[in-house]
């Protein structure tokens, strides 16, 4: 499943980040942020309008990701 489908409050482990275009700059930045295979992530919260953007914890940091950005991140089943 994708990070954008994760239920709020749950954690999962990143499998990979998909490139939507060739050398997708957004995917590259996500990997820089630490969204790499084996890294645990948690969906902490969601924005007030249309539940977008998503508030995601990875490593020791929180990031705001729009839904279509989070959809690039493939995760395992939530724990």
């Amino acid at each position: 499943m994708r990070l954008s489908e994760l239920v709020q409050g749950l954690s999962a482990v990143v499998q990979e980040v998909e490139d939507l275009t060739e050398k997708d700059p957004i995917s590259r930045r996500l990997r820089d942020f630490g969204f790499v295979s084996g890294e645990p992530v948690r969906l902490v919260g969601r924005g007030p309008i249309g539940a977008d953007p998503l508030l995601v914890q990875v490593g020791y940091t929180r990031f705001a990701l729009r839904r279509n950005e989070a959809a690039r991140i493939i995760i395992g089943e939530p724990a």
Binding site: L20, T21, P25, I26, R28, R29, L30, R31, D32, F33, G34, V36, E39, V44, G45, R46, G47, P48, I49, G50, D52, P53, L55, Q57, G59, Y60, T61, R62, F63, A64, L65, R66, N68, E69
Partner: protein
């Protein structure tokens, strides 16, 4: 001998939110120079300091970067300067890489990337006090041994918090020999953390608690609205008296200097109505700019600004903007100049440009005198729908017209842009921090400097040109009409009348529009001058009410919603985008919108009115 030697060149690098700029301020104090890198609008900050033993250093604060491999203009500069490949920048003798000790999972990857450059470097573990408070234990010796570079702990916001770093700089730091290691950097970071860092909890409990309120879908928005309301109250209640004091003070000073020149009336007029009026129109913006930036810097330092962007991103995205556009646009309701200067916090250059282009559509406070004059003259004091004051309703709809057209323009820019690639949000929400007085003071000082040096010069020269246009040629002997009618500005006004007649503007309005270019509110006093009422603006309302038609007044109101009247804003756009092209695009589209809106308003109002 070393005293006479050239200062050692240091480059400060680090990921955003690592406290790099606070460390820069701590080391250099106020001794810093702000400029742009050659050919780009990325800010270049350099400062000097010396260590107790008397060695001198030149410290360059490079733009924050998450990666040296990425495509943002900031990161390209950071990479090139570190390698000595940026034209006009000499290669740094030593790289000081800063990492937030509480955020090592993210920042160590960047440290490893910088280390791969093979340049001499030192790692500063910043905010080591916050790390200790959170029970994070870092084995500095082990980290140092594993990385092969000196590692020091710093607390950028505490006096003397960089002592360990300066001691380290005085020693010898050699380039690291990095063994070819193809292991993924993330894997290396995990190993380093497993060996040298013990972390009781991934996030600070206090951050989680604050975020539960600040980012709450309902409470968060209420809090945001309250903060914005407070800022606006402050801008209007604090800045207004200061602005008035500046205007009166400069005017008095001008008259006083001018009184020494009574024997030379032309020179006196140049000094009083040209130079001092120009200085006044520059300085009068300062209170609003400083108060707005006081809040913006405090919100930024505390970590709230990205939270506000988080809350509003979806809303702004609908118009092709980003959550980060919100604060600059809101500031533009006070004055577009600080609004445009505040767009620097928008990372995506395309989003930043769109925000700059629509900022003048937010109804700034300088339009209020014009609105007030026309509304008081033409709109009756009447209650509509039981509770609303009709004059208030008209004023409110003028504000709404500005906002709606800003959203429409942003949407059109999105359509016209050929680049269809996705705009990213990808925003870190940093830990909350108590803003540090020194860092805010230095930030305010920088903004004031940029405004006075770069924008002030343009505004001052334009005011003097406008004085020249409204003064020469002098009226012929026996002239009966106000002097301005015979001047270049007057002739220009009569010429403009040909263009503006379809909008219902009479020649008096057209003449007043010329000096009104300096600042919108000047148009009101110019109208008084044209109607030979110099100094009696109260009488103006009566003249306007009796001589103008309602259609004319509505047309002029519509004009002022869009008009690119304020040359100061255009000067700021020039400075912030480093491009005359953007200035022309902005002026042209605003002019076109204003013309069409006024034309429609006038013609429709005439038909309906008859």
């Amino acid at each position: 001998m070393s005293e006479a030697a050239l200062p050692m060149r240091l480059a400060l690098v680090g990921s955003p939110n690592c406290g790099k700029t606070a460390l820069f301020n701590q080391l250099t104090g106020g001794r810093q120079k702000v400029a742009n890198y050659a050919g780009v609008t990325v800010e270049r900050k350099e400062g000097r300091f010396s260590t107790p033993s008397g060695r001198n250093y030149l410290l360059l604060d490079l733009p924050g970067a998450y990666s040296l491999d990425a495509a943002s203009p900031d990161e390209i500069i950071t990479r090139k300067v570190c390698l000595g490949e940026f034209p006009g920048e000499s290669v740094p003798d030593l790289i000081v890489c800063v990492a937030d000790a509480t955020n090592l999972r993210l920042h160590l990857r960047f440290v490893l990337e910088v280390r791969k450059l093979g340049r001499p470097m030192v790692l500063a573990l910043n905010m080591s006090d916050a790390a200790r408070r959170r029970g994070i234990r870092i084995d500095v010796d082990k980290l140092q041994a594993r990385l092969g570079i000196p590692v020091v702990e710093t607390v950028a916001v505490r006096h003397g918090g960089a002592a360990e770093l300066t001691r380290c700089l005085e020693g010898e730091v050699r380039a690291v020999a990095v063994a070819e290691d193809s292991t993924d950097l993330h894997v290396q970071v995990r190993e380093l953390i497993a060996e040298a860092v013990s972390m009781p909890r991934r996030t600070a409990e206090i951050d989680d608690a604050i975020d539960r309120i600040v980012l709450h879908p309902a409470l968060g928005l209420v809090l945001l609205a309250a903060i914005m309301f407070l800022i606006f109250q402050a801008v209007f209640s604090w800045a207004e008296p200061l602005m008035e004091a500046i205007e009166i003070g400069i005017a008095h000073l001008g008259t006083w200097v001018g009184s020494a020149l009574t024997s030379m009336p032309m020179l006196q007029s140049l000094v009083v109505d040209g130079i001092f009026a120009g200085i006044g129109s520059v300085l009068v913006f300062l209170p609003q700019i400083l108060i707005l930036f006081l809040f913006i810097l405090a919100l930024e330092e505390s970590g709230y600004l990205p939270r506000a962007a988080f809350l509003l991103d979806r809303l702004m995205l609908g118009a092709g903007l980003t959550g980060r556009s919100f604060i600059p646009l809101l500031s533009s309701f006070a004055c577009a100049i600080p609004g445009i200067m505040a767009t620097r916090s928008i990372q995506d250059p395309r989003d930043r440009l769109t925000t700059i282009l629509i900022a003048p559509l937010m109804t700034c406070s300088a339009r209020l005198p014009v609105y007030a004059l026309l509304i008081a003259a033409f709109i009756p004091q009447r209650t509509v729908a039981g509770v609303f004051n009709l004059q208030g309703v008209v004023l409110f709809s003028l504000y709404v017209a500005g906002i709606v057209s800003a959203l429409a323009v942003a949407w059109v820019i999105k359509l016209l842009r050929k680049d269809k690639s996705e705009h990213a949000l990808l925003m870190e929400l940093p830990s909350y921090r108590v803003p540090h007085v020194r860092d805010i003071a230095i930030g305010l000082w920088e903004r004031a400097n940029i405004f006075l040096k770069r924008v002030g010069g343009i505004i001052l020269s334009l005011t003097i040109i406008l004085w020249f246009l409204s003064t020469f040629p002098a009226p012929p002997a026996g002239a009966t009409e106000p002097a301005i009618n015979y001047s270049f500005a007057g002739q220009l006004g009569h010429l403009l009348h040909l263009v503006f007649a379809p909008l219902g503007f009479n020649w008096q309005i057209c003449i007043a529009l010329v000096p009104g270019l300096a600042a919108r509110e000047v148009a009101v006093s110019s109208l008084a001058t044209v109607y030979a009422l110099s100094g009696h603006e109260e009488g103006l309302q009566a003249i306007v009410a009796s001589q103008w038609t309602l259609a004319m007044a509505l047309s002029l109101l519509a004009w002022y919603v869009f008009a690119p009247m304020c040359l100061s804003t255009l000067a700021t756009v020039r400075r912030e985008t480093n491009s005359w092209r953007q200035v022309w695009i902005m002026a042209a589209y605003l002019f076109a919108l204003a013309y069409v809106a006024s034309l429609l308003t006038y013609q429709i109002a005439r038909v309906v009115g008859s």
